[in-house]
């Protein structure tokens, strides 16, 4: 049996890991929950975000400027994807949406490989995040501690914009009946464009913030995409609060299992997902029949 200190350390790490997973999943769940599109380019866009941070860091030598510039780039990519491709697929079957987004993902990953090669790129931890901080019962990387705060602020901001403003209301009404919303004089297409771009910025931002921690390679998004799906299945497909709770649960499961035996971390995570799918297929926060 691990000591209390080890369990406490891993519980804290679960919180940090969970917040990262929640942010990574948020972009996926925003687009799914509001537009009903399952974005299989999610992992690739995560990688694009990380590479954007890499390029911007090289150009500006400032992590904050890299994040701001990166968000602008992701916004443009989001606009372009929606205008040129995705909007033609809103009324198409789910399979078509999955295929087209999967294809976009492949193109993006191979474009990264062509431009940057297969080797990983180095994105340094920002100067204000280097080193480790003593927290009494454990020593923890300062940057990861800061990430918890940054991610919490980002998630709250995203939630307020999407669910506590008229924009979110218009989007949800547009999903139910786009024609009626149009008759009411609201440009629903513009709102869809905005939400899609916000979802892309969210996943890109996750990639940028994660870039100093992981190996930045063209394929880096693949494992995050799988984990994002696990998180949104746990939390409820398309539910924004579900993604946050699902992320935190996934983080805790992975971390606390590691206190006993790290080899079983993922087994426990997928085991829990299977359990949720059997007992509550719509997920913890999902609504039956929605999405």
């Amino acid at each position: 049996m691990p000591s209390t200190a080890v369990l406490l350390s891993q519980a804290f790490n679960g919180l940090a890991l969970g917040s990262l997973l929640a942010l990574v999943s948020s972009g996926l769940t925003i687009i799914l929950g509001t537009l009903g599109v399952l974005n299989f380019a999610h992992g690739a866009l995560f990688a694009v975000g990380a590479y954007t941070a890499f390029v911007m860091m090289q150009a500006t030598h400032s992590f904050v400027l890299a994040l701001l510039g990166g968000c602008a780039v992701m916004l443009i990519i989001g606009f372009a994807m929606e205008r040129l491709i995705i909007r033609h697929f809103y009324a198409r079957p789910d399979e078509d949406q999955i295929l087209v987004t999967y294809g976009i993902g492949m193109v993006l990953v191979e474009a990264l490989r062509t431009w940057f090669g297969g080797n990983s790129q180095r994105v340094p931890v920002p100067s204000w995040g280097t080193g480790a901080t003593k927290l009494g019962f454990l020593v923890y990387p300062t940057y990861r501690l800061q990430l918890i705060g940054i991610i919490a602020a980002l998630l709250v901001g995203l939630y307020l914009v999407l669910y506590r403003t008229s924009v979110g209301l218009v989007v949800r009404a547009g999903i139910e009946n786009a024609g009626m919303v149009g008759i009411l004089g609201i440009d629903v297409r513009r709102t869809f464009l905005f939400v899609f771009a916000v979802g892309i910025v969210a996943v890109g931002l996750a990639g940028m913030l994660y870039a100093p921690v992981v190996a930045v390679t063209p394929d880096m998004g693949a494992s995050f995409m799988v984990q994002s799906f696990v998180v949104i299945v746990l939390g409820g497909l398309g539910s924004f609060p579900g993604a946050i709770v699902g992320g935190l649960i996934a983080g805790e499961i992975i971390s606390l299992t590691s206190a006993f035996n790290s080899a079983y971390s993922e087994v426990m995570l997928y085991g829990l997902m299977a359990l949720v799918l059997v007992a509550r297929p719509q997920g913890l926060f999902g609504t039956e029949g929605r999405v």
């Binding site: 890991l17 990983s120 921690v213 190996a215 390679t217 299992t257």
Partner: protein
């Protein structure tokens, strides 16, 4: 002018001739893709390597090594002649090739290699970065009776319990690497140390762990923690937290490819690298550059090849120069293994006097009596398990201030004689299958 060495070699070759003739007499006239795959002016070779996924960096390097060797052999000239080859191509036939991306996955690798065999009538195929895909490809090779030259693969199982008559491995196995590395590291870092291991959960990780823990224990080290993680893990925080709290003196990181990069970066962020010495039993091809010399300085590890060996071996010098001229960087492990073993296959074909795989296998199995001169000196394949007996470079990461150039990441602290670190051939349960 005949010198003593040439005479001895000629004598040895002469002594072998009756054996070869005997072998050829017993070889079937038709086996695998032979003779169908032997054109009048060319033969086809299939190349398998991960160009995407965790091992894509090593895979890309491997690809460039194969391409260089094939281009040189096809063109003929001084360099192939220095290896002992005659004329252009292999036995007058140009090598054609195709490349398949295995993604580091055994099932994808087998599908690609099957196409090479069935569609292209490959006379030989080669390449891998993951031991799991190497094992799958070896099995395919023996089933279809087509020669397979393993690429990067460190697991003991490749030439151990999963060894195959039609598979040959040129890099050191985990046992050899660990036996070579442990004494050097223990001498440098100390004898009575506590070690924590980070182990990727597949055949490579487990056998490297088994071997390195065994040989480090013999040096007086104790193991305080073993953290097992899935291949392709992105976030190692929970495992590293345990390692950081383990009280170990040494952090042994067995992860390979981009997993090695991510885990090392994160280990630094968790303060592991400031409180423990890092040891990497097998250094990935681009770990130096991707992690950076700041973190890699003082790190000990073993490797297949390091480019400064060009100062010791003439064939290494021509290889490094030609590779640099073509690709604008110094070759790493992957490129070297690809380059060297393509030449060794070509040499073996010429020694066998034909492309019949049974004859070539017998030549390679008999190479102890007629070793190959290579980029790492004199080597041969062991007849009992098809493991190459070869020197093993032990490297130590240089401090950024000690680097004489942008790629001068390591110092070769030792070049361990392969004969002294070989496992007994039957230790890992190798039973080579039949020739036919």
């Amino acid at each position: 002018m005949l010198d003593r060495r040439t005479l001895l070699l000629a004598g040895a070759a002469g002594l072998m001739l009756p054996d070869l003739r005997g072998a050829r007499a017993q070889s079937p006239a038709q086996i695998g893709t032979f003779p169908e795959g032997v054109g009048t002016d060319s033969v086809f070779v299939g190349l398998n390597m991960p160009l995407t996924g965790v091992f894509s960096g090593d895979g890309s390097d491997l690809k460039l090594g194969y391409e260089l060797a094939i281009a040189q052999i096809n063109a003929g000239g001084e360099i192939p002649a220095a290896w002992g080859l005659k004329g252009k191509g292999v036995l007058g036939r140009q090598i054609r090739h195709k490349i398949a991306d295995t993604e580091g996955k055994p099932n994808v690798a087998v599908q690609a290699a099957t196409q090479f065999i069935q569609r292209d009538k490959a006379i030989m195929f080669q390449g891998s970065v993951s031991s799991a895909e190497a094992i799958a490809l070896e099995e395919l090779a023996s089933r279809d009776k087509v020669l397979y030259m393993v690429g990067i693969a460190g697991s003991n199982d490749v030439t151990g319990k999963n060894c195959q008559r039609y598979g040959f491995r040129s890099q050191q196995n985990a046992y050899m690497a660990a036996k070579a590395l442990a004494p050097v590291v223990a001498k440098a870092l100390g004898k009575n140390l506590k070690a924590a291991f980070l182990v990727p959960d597949y055949t490579y990780g487990q056998t490297v762990y088994d071997s390195f823990s065994k040989f480090s224990k013999e040096q007086g080290w104790t193991q305080v923690l073993k953290e097992t993680v899935p291949l392709g893990t992105a976030d190692y925080s929970s495992a590293l937290l345990n390692i950081a709290n383990s009280g170990a003196d040494v952090f042994v990181n067995i992860c390979f490819g981009s997993d090695a990069v991510a885990s090392t970066k994160q280990a630094e962020q968790f303060g592991v690298l400031s409180s423990m010495k890092l040891v990497v039993p097998n250094l990935s091809s681009f770990q130096d550059k991707e992690v950076g010399p700041e973190l890699m300085q003082g790190v000990y590890g073993s490797c297949d090849f390091w480019w400064t060996l060009e100062d010791r071996y003439p064939l290494a010098k021509t290889f490094v120069e030609a590779f640099f001229a073509r690709n604008k960087y110094r070759p790493r492990w992957g490129a070297h293994i690809a380059y060297m073993q393509t030449y060794l296959w070509a040499l073996s074909v010429e020694r066998a006097g034909g492309f019949n795989p049974v004859d070539i296998i017998k030549v390679m199995e008999g190479s102890k009596s007629q070793p190959y001169e290579t980029t790492i000196g004199r080597v041969y394949y062991r007849a009992e398990d098809h493991q190459m007996v070869r020197p093993i470079p032990i490297l130590r990461g240089k401090a950024p201030s000690a680097m004489k150039g942008p790629e001068d990441f390591y110092e070769v602290v030792d070049l361990v004689d392969g004969e002294t670190v070989m496992n007994p051939p039957d230790l890992f349960g190798c039973k080579l299958g039949p020739y036919t």
